[in-house]
Symmetry: C2
Subunit: 246 residues, 2 copies
């Protein structure tokens, strides 16, 4: 039974009951969320994976996900997974894409909404104690379970694009960071090398970094200054890009 079919049918105002009957009786699909959780450690971009819990994919790694509960917002489901898996409450989380091929999941029709999360691996509350949970260098992620390889690559590309347009990257760093840390981060995410002087010039010109008047500790060379990102100032001044370029 279709709600609306041809463009020739007569006008009809549907009652809530009629719709409710449809919604409750037919067309129900299992819905899950999958989180691509990124971290930055030892100057490498990492992703948090778990061993697949399906026999079919035994030995393969997969993203962290779960079914959405019937009375749970989908964003809330993603936050729940993050909390369960990392112990962290306030993390950067953004919806990326929804994957809905009929046969994407072996257990039946499961549509999954994917999220990209960025966490600071040095956060004091972070606990990755669960069995089978591990950080993987993004470069070594090659054949995940289900369609998770596709999902991961989609999410990673989105990250690479967005990190250049918005101040997301800071979520991966400690609150206090050096300009070298920041450059290493961008180089790891984008997999490129950048000129150190021009990188500094660019960030200082933006004028969103607050000089904390502190220095790095325990480095075996001249220590650099520490900074934090000025989100308030960014929110006020952020530009709306205008410029056709493709």
């Amino acid at each position: 039974m279709k709600i609306e079919d041809s463009s020739q049918q007569k006008k009809h105002i549907k009652t809530l009951q009629a719709i409710q009957t449809e919604v409750q009786s037919t067309n129900k699909i299992a819905l899950s969320v999958d989180c691509v959780i990124f971290g930055f450690d030892e100057n490498k971009l990492k992703v948090l994976l778990i061993r697949s819990d399906l026999k079919k994919y035994a030995g393969k790694w997969s993203l962290l996900g779960d079914l959405v509960l019937p009375v749970e917002d989908i964003d809330a489901a993603a936050y729940r997974i993050l909390k369960q898996r990392t112990g962290l409450n306030d993390v950067y989380l953004e919806q990326v894409h929804t994957f809905g091929k009929v046969n994407r999941h072996p257990a039946g029709r499961v549509v999954t909404v994917t999220y990209c999360s960025l966490i600071n691996v040095q956060h004091h509350k972070l606990n990755i104690f669960a069995n089978e949970l591990h950080w993987h260098d993004v470069k070594s992620v090659t054949s995940l379970a289900f369609d998770h390889q596709l999902i991961f690559e989609n999410c990673f590309q989105q990250l690479q694009k967005r990190v250049q347009e918005h101040p997301l990257g800071f979520n991966l760093l400690p609150k206090k960071f050096s300009l070298r840390d920041l450059q290493n981060l961008y180089e790891a995410i984008l997999d490129i090398k950048m000129d150190r002087r021009n990188f500094r010039k660019k960030f200082f010109a933006m004028d969103f970094l607050i000089d904390l008047k502190e220095m790095e500790q325990d480095v075996p060379h001249r220590p650099g200054k520490l900074y934090k990102f000025n989100y308030e100032k960014y929110e006020k001044k952020k530009k709306k890009m205008v410029g056709i370029d493709f």
Copy 2:
């Protein structure tokens, strides 16, 4: 019943049966797609809307949507709606975002995946015959049914952003267009004025326009040259942007 709960639980490999039981018995949610269909007519950006078919929203306009069938890819559901509503088969269509608040739909739990579509209102196959279907100037869209105002605005913003980075806009124009048409299109989508000479310079420099050696007809002034977009060349040469800017 939760599939996975704490991070302390013991390792367990779930069977497909166990998962299938969960998927089939619980956690089912109705899934719909909603299409934001844009057109360009009389130098204005338009969106195709239908009168709401719910009493609760009688008199309000809403986006074109439908439930996803149990054995239908979500992309296929979006294409189906476009075909049903416009008669068109091969149109630009891109997923934008998924809206999944528990109470977003009065009939119960319905999560909706939204799509942005761009169509050429001059396409010879286009037929908007259905009752209650109308093109609305995007500037006049103010209080749609359900959460469709939110969905529309999200989609429109995404369009404004993407049209600057990718050659989407041509989907809104006839196959042959003048540079003035193209500029009017960008000005309508972005709601800005652009310098005519710099606009031309920019597009000629990209070198993706093919001069058709034809002129506009029936204009009450000097006719302009007609062009088409060279998608093959674009696909070969498209750049990957690198440059932090926010």
